[in-house]
């Protein structure tokens, strides 16, 4: 018996409630700029629609990205505090894995996917780059088996690398939703693979660079 509140803000604001592997409610707001304003009402809405009290939520799972920086941490902060307030267990999951799980629901795709012909999941990383990860398989419960990634890369460079490694992947570009993240968490929970790490996957370093301590501004006096 699990009631999972799933939150993913790697793109829009997406919140879902998954009970024993069934999506009971979901709210998806595309607006990428309003995460902070939307997150509270989105959580309240899914609880109301599913008729679940906060204290009944047993697990909170948050998408760790990878994602451009801004919205991601709003979702993580919200997940941390909701879990504290509702006394639920807190977990994190890689958002790309949620896409892989959804794609690999297809029996046709499952039959084709293999280590030699993996599923390639990509998402927009902006600045002309994509996030990418490769999957070779899926467990019976539905946990995808990631064999590479996630990493951030220019699309042309990704294609060049795949060609060098003689990989002709199956491709998925479905958007990540909290519903898919919640179903992923349910599968990971069954497989005992759900992770408590909720740190954000930015994959890029902050824009700021550490100044060189040897480099002095102003005139040297000697």
């Amino acid at each position: 018996m699990s009631i999972i509140l799933a939150i993913d803000t790697s793109f829009g604001t997406s919140v879902a409630l998954v009970e024993d592997g069934v999506v009971r409610a979901e709210v998806n707001v595309d607006d990428t700029m309003k995460h902070a304003e939307r997150i509270g009402e989105a959580i309240a809405q899914v609880l109301a629609v599913a008729d679940v009290r906060p204290a009944q939520v047993s697990e909170v799972v948050v998408g760790r990205g990878p994602a451009p920086f801004t919205g991601l941490r709003v979702g993580i902060a919200a997940a941390v505090m909701f879990a504290e307030g509702a006394r639920a267990k807190l977990f994190g999951a890689v958002s790309l894995d949620a896409i892989a799980r959804t794609e690999l629901e297809s029996a046709e795709l499952r039959a084709q996917v293999s280590h030699d012909r993996p599923l390639l999941v990509t998402s927009d990383a902006r600045r002309g780059e994509v996030y990418a990860a490769l999957y070779s398989d899926v467990t019976k419960a539905g946990s995808p088996v990631r064999i590479d990634g996630p990493f951030v890369i220019k699309p042309a460079e990704l294609e060049a690398q795949l060609e060098r490694r003689a990989i002709e992947p199956l491709r998925a570009t479905a958007p990540v939703t909290a519903a898919s993240l919640g179903l992923l968490a349910d599968a990971l929970l069954i497989d005992g693979l759900l992770d408590t790490d909720v740190s954000a996957l930015y994959l890029r370093d902050p824009d700021a660079t550490v100044p060189n301590p040897k480099q002095r501004v102003g005139k040297a006096v000697s």
Binding site: H35, E37, V74, G75, I76, V80, F82, P206, A208
Partner: protein
């Protein structure tokens, strides 16, 4: 006689008068002036003096170590000519309320076994003997009774609203807990060390630091205040101005906490928040 005394927080300027009463009250085991001075200054203690017509007629102190939920009466003394008027009861009441406000759920004290009037006063205030210490008061060799009172009734009765505030406006995550206008906890996980390396506040780094700091900061604040999330009456959050990114973390966090706990949420201006912290006692 009427009770025309006032109870005031003790200040350093009270020290000489406190010592005079201390020496008169505890002939054989008075604290030194240095000890008393340190007691007045140390964090987690609260000392009060009783004054009547400018004259100091009593003093007492309580210590509440954050997170323990326990208060300890450090000392209490009433001028021998002013006893029997209810001064001690009134001072004890102030100390018990102070301890409850600072998060104590129970209060402990030791009293000389040969002081029946003090023991009677403490009993009437709800203290019960839980233990004794043989020959505790030296050099007289007098036993001490250890007494305990439940402060829960004081905590739930007539208490001002308990508000938890989250601020992530500029370069730090701050979680404050106030009861009325009294600051119970203020924990700031400053990201200053990170900033120093970058020679200023770098928005992205500030925001990353906020995220990692959120959970430990919340726990520390609740511990310091000696309260649980259930006891909160409201949640407050800074809504600007500030760095947009850092700000959003706090707003998202506060809203989620409000939904999870079912508490109302209020937005406060960052600057007002700062001024507010200053005017808190």
């Amino acid at each position: 006689m009427t009770n025309t005394w006032v109870i005031l927080p003790a200040v350093e300027g009270d020290l000489d008068e406190i010592m005079a009463l201390e020496n008169a009250s505890f002939a054989t085991d008075a604290w030194s002036v240095d000890n008393m001075h340190a007691e007045l200054e140390v964090a987690h203690t609260a000392y009060f003096v009783v004054r009547e017509d400018e004259r100091l007629i009593g003093y007492g102190g309580v210590s509440v170590i954050p997170g323990t939920g326990q208060g300890d009466i450090q000392t209490i003394a009433i001028d021998e000519f002013e006893r029997g008027r209810g001064v001690g009861r009134s001072l004890m009441g102030a100390l018990m309320r102070e301890a409850a406000t600072q998060g104590a759920r129970e209060m402990f004290l030791e009293v000389r076994a040969d002081n029946p009037s003090a023991i009677g006063l403490y009993r009437s205030l709800g203290f019960e003997q839980i233990d004794s210490r043989k020959r505790y008061y030296m050099p007289d060799g007098v036993d001490a009774l250890v007494m305990r009172a439940n402060l829960e009734p004081l905590r739930t009765q007539d208490l001002e609203p308990l508000v938890l505030g989250i601020e992530t406006s500029c370069d730090e995550t701050g979680i404050g807990i106030v009861r009325g206008n009294r600051l119970l906890a203020n924990v700031i996980s400053s990201s200053m060390d990170e900033h120093a390396r970058f020679g200023g506040v770098v928005p992205e780094i500030a925001a990353r630091a906020h995220l990692e700091a959120l959970r430990p900061t919340l726990h520390e604040a609740l511990n310091q205040a000696g309260v649980t999330l259930d006891e909160l009456d409201a949640i407050a959050v800074t809504n600007g101005p500030g760095l947009a990114g850092a700000l959003m973390v706090g707003v998202g966090a506060a809203k989620a906490l409000a939904v999870a706990t079912g508490k109302p949420i209020y937005a406060v201006n960052h600057l007002v928040g700062h001024v507010g912290v200053d005017i808190l006692e």
